[in-house]
Symmetry: C2
Subunit: 911 residues, 2 copies
């Protein structure tokens, strides 16, 4: 243990640096770093974390010479700043703050303006020429100190403040004059004396000693201990204490304060960008009571005013030097805060600046060009989640927006359009060239055409992986789902939200990125993929090893995904093809067939449609692998709604009791008969839990002819393409396999059909057969299954449903509450649950590869486009992820980042 | 490899024995064993399996001296039997059969009467004095040999036989006289010559050589290879060939044949029990053309006749010696076949005799008393599955029964009663003292009272773990479920099966053990638990280490289970208590409550009911642990049916269009309003997949007040009992936990309530809090969960549903087909899927115990009473299984057997 406890910084040199976070805490180390860089930082010193350790190890005793060291360093600060602590003419005021290795917000409040008393205030009044400011600072100091150091409740001070305002008929704090504030200081001190039994300490040195002690004590409060427990922070780390001189930007017109970015955060342009106010404190900028001025002439165009560049050219030049220095040092765009005290520039803080997605991309690419950072660093600088902004229209940031309701941000982007309540209507309106928003209680596969026609989708029910959400994301279409605040009456063609009624044809705007629902039209900004985006994505591909495919059911979607860099199709859902206007009746005919012959007849009619679909997809993806999943949903999804049939039948039955027109009676009777027959079939296919019902390969085993037709269509389409000289690798994927025997049976059937088609056509194409791993049992028995499968594709939507026992259509009732109460860190349908579901994934990978090292493994659940899940997939050794077209770039970036992180951690281990 | 290939047996000594199965095959070794025991067995010899191996290893060549060895041994057989092979005066006839290590039925047919030709037949005619018999034997031999050895299709012979019968106007084979049969032999031989191009071999030695060759060849047929693949029998095992002299029981009145059991198989009494026929062959006994006679005087009471004891006292006495010898040797009740050829007794076969459950128990207990076997062996001798027969009424075996339909054997036993179609009606009829069978499409929790009132339950839909099945088993009530052949119209109060219509009030009989549905009344036999049963169960408890608890929701069930030896309650489902007539309205009031206050008000009314329930259960189980599960099902289960509400509303709406009576209009309008409000709530609680919905602890987290009320009721009831001086250990079980946070939250709430109740009452009781493991994620993260749980209870019903992704209410559509097609070895809702679901169980046990070695672990799914699953639970280290009351003895026996098997296998490993 060192015998040095206090580390000074100021006037261009510091005893610490950024690498000494363990000893000086994060804040202390950074203040030292800035100082060493030659950045003008208000002088101060840091009492090391070792003191905290010694304090607790030695029965709450400080090391003997600590106070001497503090006094010694205080002297250095006085020299550096040209003020004297406790001096009544030229007083030095300081702030006292805690600072652990990593930031622990809320652990201990800051004490500002320490050093004030009835004597030193005179010096402040004299130097500032502003008595009110001086007493306001004094009153704030007593309140803060009383609360934080002496433990007198904040609310007790506030009560006195309120009483004072009342007695002076002051509306806000700022209406209180210097006299009132002076009285308040007195009253505050009386309060402290009453509450603590001791006088408020007037001696600045006593103030300082006690404040330092309070910080160290705060390390052991229940609040802090709990916080550390939650965040796994060891108690023996301890906290440092930072004592820093106060500077004021409101000491006259040679003073001021401002904030600036080293580059323009809205577009990333390499322009120094910021605002400032003369004779003001930081809070004045924030409060908005005065309009800040542009920092330099370049920004003056619109808003006039006098820039800092003009008002204080020397200070401005110094600031330019500082920001360039900082950006070069941190190799990152910085967000800085500065104060000018009587012509002297001080930097109070520098940190990484927040930015829009577009500027993040531009800055990263520019910095590589400038030689500031390498490609890897550039890739790590762009957040994949943020990238979404670049790919969809967004609400114009300049528009003023008032949302009337908020649902789940189910599919990003924004959309404006007239409200429609049915898929048919959506199609009609779209054909007339109108932009429409489809509003439904929930969507079902029958609504696909309408969803495709609409600009956006709004549903009252359903979660992040409800039908509406999944399909909308697949289409890259804006969607707000599960918006419980709206009541939709599809019958009356209205929806209400609170008292407001929205009728069909009214305009609304949706923000699928935030979940906001806005009445009326709001201006949108169209996405623009800059050249920088392309450059960054090229670099991404240099690093990533995980392939990125897309989930696409239509040639158009496949083409978009390919444009976004998709390396194949990981999931083509054949069922979406069954809902076309010409097809649904044939599908229903197939389902209602009483015997195999009738079913085969209907299937023969479907074959050319399916072949055409696959041909289109294959053509769009020529040269790349395409995974086609055999029919998955239960058959009743293709039949009319059960409740509606019951309603219709009851309606006819009751009507028949009352009418006498024979012709009408006959008409109704024959209708009734038809409905009843249909209902009988619907009832017989009805399931209590369709999620766990007769679907996936269970259908293919009960009705092998359905899968046979699909295999035939796939292989015929691939052969056709081969004849045209284009190569495609169809991968036939069997859904919902839970036992190896299911795969064996369906695989044998598929091979038989495929070989027969190829023999007939005299063409050999490469194809493979694999399975979804989406039933927990498949993951548990992956070793057996891998012997029969050429590839695995994790269907993590269903796997999540079954592993948690959550129905994604129903979980909306309790899942948001779970996340809110901390029962789950995140919605497991959004970010893969790595602990539970992830364990099954890892088991399946290990078991599968153990018996079949050549096994190709991917994921085609919604998680394939979510960054943390993509990283998990990379770590778990998957070959590819597959996601909706608009998430392909996000997945690519996440994959590259995962690879870079992994390499870094391997390097760290080797170092 | 030995240079001895043929092993002789006969005349009291054999070269082989029972331990030489690998070399001689099962049949050969057993024939040798019997011979060595001094049992008179027709002499013969076995050609070893090594010959088979050599044959295939050496390009289908036999070892050089094989035939010499065969001839040598044939001589020994001639000597032993006093006949000569191929001799025309005193011919020896033999049978040739295959015989592998383990029986492979259907691999190769037997050739009987080998050695017959136009010369030797004369000897047979002379010795038997029965020309027709001789030619019938001859014609059978040619047919059998032609088919099996020469490969001429069986049907071709049959055609000739049919033609012969037609030409002679014979109705059956027996109507053909010796001449016709003689002609047939000739025609058969012509057929063979035509089909094979060679004459039928008349030389007995050629016949024998070819027959032996055919047996060895049969080892390599496609049929045999497939069979071995399916049953994992290595190809290199090979088969042996048994050549044995034929004996005939129809050579006059000093000959005969019979079958006998060493004890009475119907009741286990120690009485030699059997039947015989003079001057007859085995097939005459089977064909039933003549009535067999009792074997001894003791059996003569009813059916007169002359017993073997009387007709051939010496032979009978010899037979008695033989059977006693056999039973003593095999230490098991034997089922023997014998033939008497001209005064000489031959044993043809001995094997373990089949028996009823009652006799299995009696024989096992008796044999221990007789010192024949030890207790362990006795326990292993009774099949747990069979035990079920002892605990329920069964259909009188004497009754002639014709089933009209067959459903799933959902709950064992039999029941007779009048058909009713509603639970209310069942209750009314039962109150009037009528026995009723409740017939429904499917049952729901609202039907509980009616199910309780009925003698048996029949449903058209649902599987082995449908509501009807589970509840019926819990009540020990006969149930046939998922009987697809019946169409139930609850409205019209009829069900139809084919053309037959069964009306309310008609009698039917159900056999829940087989799934049979029988029209009318059938006589039943009531179960009787003998003293032997009690003795066996006492021994069982000496061996088993796995505890057996029961699933019981009512004090009466708990009492029955305790009588059956239950060591506590492993699952008390509180929801069944919510359906009582007085309670359901309060439960609905609670669910429909718009706010917490209203909900609390309803819960306060439920509290005394629940407390009373628990008090009753605790009292019945005083001294034992009782696990009570907090509310599990989704709330909509307690509300009216959605479809019915829709129907009612539509009905009123349409009616309102047509009527004009104002009073009626007002009445209907107010009704409509009420229904619509209710429907609104029902719709809002409606779930697409209720299995995966808002249920279990998810409810307890959304509405903590429900679980709080239940905890309060549990602890108050336990305190009350404690005050009365009785001890109970309540175990509070949280259902459907998937994350440790869920358990933490609900556990903290339960502790708070429990401590507050105990503080209030001034009583301390011991209670514990644990969780179901029924969600796959709970098993996967059992290490985290075990830190918070005092016990785990595997809910293998739900765990099976989620691990397979099978809804047990819907799987009936495809699951039977899966088992039929071999995609699954068994219904996983009946026998635990050890490969998949079992892996999760074992992971959870290992992970749970790793962090919490004191963790108590049980199972409370339906599998807890299924023998193979109980064995799995024992092997997996569980502390207890819990099952429905009537399965407690079965589980106890299975647990003891599991323990004994385990010890045996450990011993084997150590040996």
């Amino acid at each position: 243990m060192a015998d040095k406890f206090v580390y000074c910084f100021g006037r261009g040199s510091a005893e610490g640096n950024a690498d000494m976070k363990n000893l000086l805490g994060g804040k202390g180390a950074n203040l030292a770093e800035m100082t060493n860089l030659g950045v003008p930082v208000p002088a101060g010193f840091t009492i090391s974390t070792e003191v905290c350790k010694l304090y607790y190890d030695n029965n709450r005793q400080y090391p003997g010479h600590l106070w001497d060291e503090v006094l010694e360093n205080l002297k250095k600060v006085e020299t550096a700043m040209g003020h004297k602590f406790g001096d009544q003419n030229n007083p030095l005021l300081v702030s006292v703050r805690s600072g652990a290795r990593i930031s622990m917000p809320g652990m201990m409040d800051t004490v500002l303006n320490l050093g004030l008393n009835d004597d030193t205030i005179q010096g402040v009044i004299k130097q500032s020429g502003n008595e009110r400011f001086a007493y306001d600072s004094y009153r704030r100091f007593v309140q803060m100190y009383g609360d934080v150091v002496l433990g007198v409740g904040h609310d007790k001070f506030e009560k006195l403040l309120e009483a004072k305002k009342e007695s002076r008929q002051a509306k806000s704090d700022t209406d209180l004059d210097a006299r009132a504030l002076k009285e308040l200081v007195k009253e505050y001190k009386q309060l402290v004396a009453k509450e603590t039994g001791s006088q408020f300490p007037d001696d600045p040195f006593e103030q300082l000693r006690k404040a330092i002690g309070a910080v160290f004590e705060s390390w052991d409060t229940e609040r802090a201990v709990t916080y550390r427990k939650i965040h796994n922070i060891p108690g023996h780390w301890g906290t440092a204490v930072n004592v820093q001189s106060m500077v004021f930007g409101n000491l006259g017109n040679d003073s001021g304060t401002g904030v600036a970015f080293t580059r323009d955060p809205s577009n990333g342009n390499k322009i120094f960008f910021g605002e400032y106010l003369l004779n003001a404190q930081g809070e004045d900028v924030v409060a908005g009571t005065r309009t800040p001025q542009p920092i330099n002439k370049a920004q003056k165009k619109d808003n006039g005013g006098v820039s800092l560049e003009e008002s204080m050219p020397e200070v401005y030049n110094e600031l330019v030097g500082v920001y360039q220095n900082l950006e070069k040092h941190y190799k990152e765009m910085q967000d800085i805060e500065f104060t000018i005290q009587q012509g002297t520039l001080y930097l109070l803080q520098t940190r990484t600046g927040k930015r829009t997605a577009a500027s993040a991309v531009k800055i990263a690419v520019d910095m590589v060009k400038e030689g500031l950072i390498d490609k890897k660093t550039a890739i790590m600088r762009v957040s994949p989640a943020q990238l979404d902004q670049l790919l969809h229209p967004t609400i114009d940031p300049k528009a003023s927006v008032k949302a009337v309701a908020k649902g789940l941000p189910a599919s990003p982007g924004a959309a404006v359009g007239r409200v429609v309540f049915s898929a048919e209507h959506a199609v009609l309106e779209a054909e007339m060239g109108h932009a429409v928003i489809l509003v439904r209680n929930e969507t079902s596969p029958e609504d696909i055409a309408g969803m495709y026609a609409a600009k956006g989708i709004l549903t009252a029910r359903g979660g992040m992986t409800s039908h509406a959400a999944v399909v909308a994301r697949g289409m890259g279409k804006c969607c707000v789902a599960g918006c419980g605040a709206i009541r939709v009456s599809e019958e009356e063609k209205i929806f209400t939200v609170g008292d407001q009624v929205v009728k069909e044809g009214d305009f609304i705007t949706l923000n699928g990125t935030t979940g906001q629902v806005i009445l009326g039209k709001v201006a949108l900004v169209q996405p623009e993929l800059s050249g920088d985006f392309g450059i960054l994505m090229e670099w991404v591909d240099e690093f990533k090893t995980l392939k990125v495919r897309t989930n696409a059911d239509l040639p158009a979607d496949a083409a978009i995904a390919r444009k976004f860099g998709a390396e194949g199709i990981g999931l083509c859902r054949t069922e979406h093809m069954f809902f076309g206007e010409e097809r649904l009746p044939i599908v229903q005919q197939m389902i209602l067939a009483d015997n195999k012959e009738a079913r085969l007849e209907a299937l023969a009619k479907l074959l050319p449609f399916q072949r055409g679909d696959f041909y289109g997809i294959f053509k769009a993806m020529a040269g790349l692998p395409v995974t086609i999943r055999h029919l998955d949903p239960p058959l009743h999804e293709f039949l009319p709604n059960r409740e509606e049939l019951i309603e219709k039948i009851t309606e006819i039955k009751v009507t028949l009791k009352y009418i006498s027109d024979e012709k009408e009676i006959n008409r109704l009777k024959s209708q009734l008969h038809e409905h009843e027959n249909l209902l009988h079939k619907v009832q017989s296919l009805h399931e209590f839990n369709p999620m766990l019902g007769h679907r996936g390969c269970r259908l293919g085993i009960t009705y092998p002819e359905i899968y046979d037709m699909q295999t035939q269509a796939i292989i015929e389409a691939a052969c056709q393409l081969a004849q045209e000289g284009q190569v495609v690798e169809p991968e036939i994927m069997i859904p919902l396999v839970g036992t190896v025997e299911e795969l064996k049976t369906t695989k044998a059937a598929a091979i038989k059909v495929a070989e027969s088609v190829m023999a007939k056509q005299g063409i050999k194409i490469k194809y493979s057969i694999g399975t979804m791993i989406e039933v927990p049992r498949a993951a548990l028995t992956a070793d057996a299954i891998a012997k029969e499968a050429e590839f695995f594709s994790f269907g993590t939507n269903d796997l999540t449903q079954m592993t948690f026992g959550f129905s994604r259509d129903d979980a909306g009732v309790f899942l948001p509450g779970y996340v809110e109460k901390g029962l789950l860190p995140e919605d497991p349908f959004v970010a893969l649950d790595q602990v539970g579901v992830g364990l099954l994934v890892q088991m399946a990978v290990a078991k599968g590869r153990a018996v079949n090292p050549a096994l190709k493994i991917g994921i085609c659940g919604e998680h394939g486009g979510e960054p943390s899940s993509v990283e998990f997939c990379h770590r778990s050794g998957l070959n590819y992820v597959s996601c909706s077209p608009y998430r392909v770039p996000i997945a690519r970036l996440a994959a590259a980042q995962a690879r870079i992180k992994e390499k870094a951690s391997v390097k760290q281990e080797l170092d």
